[in-house]
């Protein structure tokens, strides 16, 4: 599996750390259910999934990677900072 980092180009999977599904973080005052959903519950699809990967041994960018979990095909990569995942503050 190779991931094309928007800043560094195509790199080996070894350079990246996997965080999991790319979810929008709840607002600070959100209720328990919203946090439970964010921290624990997962759609866990067998197919395309938006994920967070960290280019640990490259440019240290957090990436939003769209990857097919059934085939490991990488469908899209963008910088997480430009993907609007920060949520409300």
């Amino acid at each position: 599996m190779r991931i094309t980092c928007p800043l560094c180009g195509e790199r080996d999977r070894r350079e990246f750390y996997y965080k999991g599904a790319a979810l929008v973080r709840p607002a600070e005052g959100a209720d328990l259910d919203a946090w439970h959903e964010y921290v624990n519950l997962r759609e866990n699809p067998a197919g395309p999934l938006d994920e967070l990967w960290y280019h640990e041994m490259g440019c240290n960018s957090w990436l939003k990677v769209t990857r097919d979990t059934a085939t490991h095909e990488i469908l899209d990569v963008q910088l997480a900072s430009e993907a609007g995942l920060g949520g409300e503050t």
């Binding site: 999977r13 996997y18 599904a21 328990l32 624990n40 979990t69 490991h72």
Partner: protein
């Protein structure tokens, strides 16, 4: 048909013409008291114990492929009860006791081999953790002993005791642990359930779960609708997708775990041995193949195959700890789909839907749980109360944070187990 030494002798002398199929291949009925989704080890064991312990025999096990074709046929066959935390501790203790009586109970040879598991440690911190874990195991009533470096050397002289980074200081031994023939476990439970009247229905994928007014009423399948008073999930890595049919989202991510077998070699590894370095675990099958594995690949996957970095890591760890295997060749490797929970421990519980039960979150440890999983799940389905050995395997522990069972102490978070 019962198996015995006498029967083997008689069949051998009469041309082996008297053996019959181990189970029927029935057409699904239109209604059952209990429908179990998933014909793997856990689903089949559940059906067996529902019939045997609770007298509930109007039961169907629905399997989308063939019986035992999932993780029960893909694992590294290790059986043990060396857990540390309450919840897991009594559950796996219960399981090991059932393993010890299973072959007699099922009249089936599962090649249960209590060869012992040896967890090696490489530094003072790991030794302290091993001693503490050993005490916890003994408190649970199971066996554990600390072996010195020299005692380990007597059992396994082929280990690299003086690796610069990971010298072997000793190990935690549980002698009642071991291995079992994984396929035979599925077949034994299938045969046992079938003999009690349970319908085992293969090539019957569930495509929908019918829920009316918060209560389950049946399932839609590739072979038509089936009504059911109770529906029990036992779908392992596919749990999330099956639960989604009932509108549920589970605290589960499915990951890939790879396993490996070497070419057949003369007997060298007499026990199951695990290394604190690299999470490596090894044993040797009766055919002579070294069976081994290490970490998850650490990304969500349903592909049932992994990537090369974890293959490389596993081989490096193995050669570092057992230099002699550098000359052995790898025969094959494969991947299984693991239903990972945030704390790395399983769920056997009611679901929020009346009559729908959950058995999932086995992470990479479902095989050793097989008998107890079926046993306590059958108890839950039959009585609507958790079995005494499974009171802490609750779904709501993730929402409340109370009762999390994070054996590794890394934090109850996806991607850390």
């Amino acid at each position: 048909m019962r198996f015995s030494g006498w029967r083997v002798l008689k069949e051998g002398l009469t041309g082996n013409k008297g053996w019959t199929p181990h189970w029927r291949d029935p057409e699904p009925k239109s209604e059952y008291d209990v429908v179990i989704i998933g014909g793997g080890g856990h689903g089949l064991a559940t059906a067996y114990y529902l019939a045997k312990e609770h007298g509930i025999t109007n039961v169907a096990v629905l399997e989308k492929g063939y019986l035992g074709g999932g993780n029960v046929g893909r694992n590294t066959t290790i059986v043990r009860a060396n857990y540390y935390l309450p919840g897991n501790s009594e559950f796996y203790s219960h399981s090991l006791k059932l393993w010890e009586g299973m072959e007699q109970d099922l009249n089936y040879n599962a090649m249960m081999s209590q060869r012992g598991i040896l967890n090696l440690y490489h530094n003072d911190g790991q030794r302290d953790a091993a001693v503490r874990r050993g005490n916890s195991i003994i408190n649970q009533g199971d066996d554990a002993e600390i072996l010195s470096r020299e005692q380990v050397r007597e059992l396994a002289p082929f280990l690299n005791f003086d690796n610069n980074r990971f010298p072997i200081m000793g190990g935690l031994m549980q002698r009642r642990a071991g291995t079992a023939r994984h396929d035979a476990v599925a077949w034994g439970y299938a045969r046992g359930a079938d003999m009690c009247g349970v319908d085992l229905i293969q090539n019957c994928e569930v495509t929908g779960i019918d829920v009316e007014n918060g209560k389950v009423t049946g399932v839609q399948t590739a072979r038509g609708p089936i009504r059911a008073k109770r529906v029990a999930l036992a779908a392992a890595g596919r749990s999330g997708q099956v639960a989604a049919m009932a509108g549920l989202t589970l605290p589960i991510e499915s990951h890939v775990l790879q396993a490996f077998v070497s070419e057949g070699l003369k007997p060298i590894v007499d026990h199951v041995i695990t290394f604190a370095e690299g999470h490596l675990y090894i044993s040797q099958s009766d055919k002579g193949g070294l069976v081994f594995g290490s970490y998850l690949d650490f990304y969500s996957s349903y592909a049932a195959r992994g990537n090369l970095p974890m293959v490389e890591h596993t081989m490096e760890s193995f050669v570092a700890m057992v230099p002699a295997v550098s000359k052995a060749r790898l025969l094959r490797s494969w991947g299984g789909i693991m239903d990972m929970t945030p704390d790395g421990s399983p769920i056997i519980d009611h679901s929020p839907i009346d009559g729908l039960y959950l058995n999932c979150g086995w992470c990479y440890g479902g095989f050793k749980a097989t008998p107890a999983s079926g046993h306590v799940y059958a108890h839950l389905i039959a009585t609507d109360r958790p079995h005494g050995a499974a009171t802490k395997l609750k779904l709501d522990r993730f929402r409340s944070g109370h009762g999390l069972m994070d054996e590794e102490g890394t934090g109850a978070q996806h991607n850390l187990h």
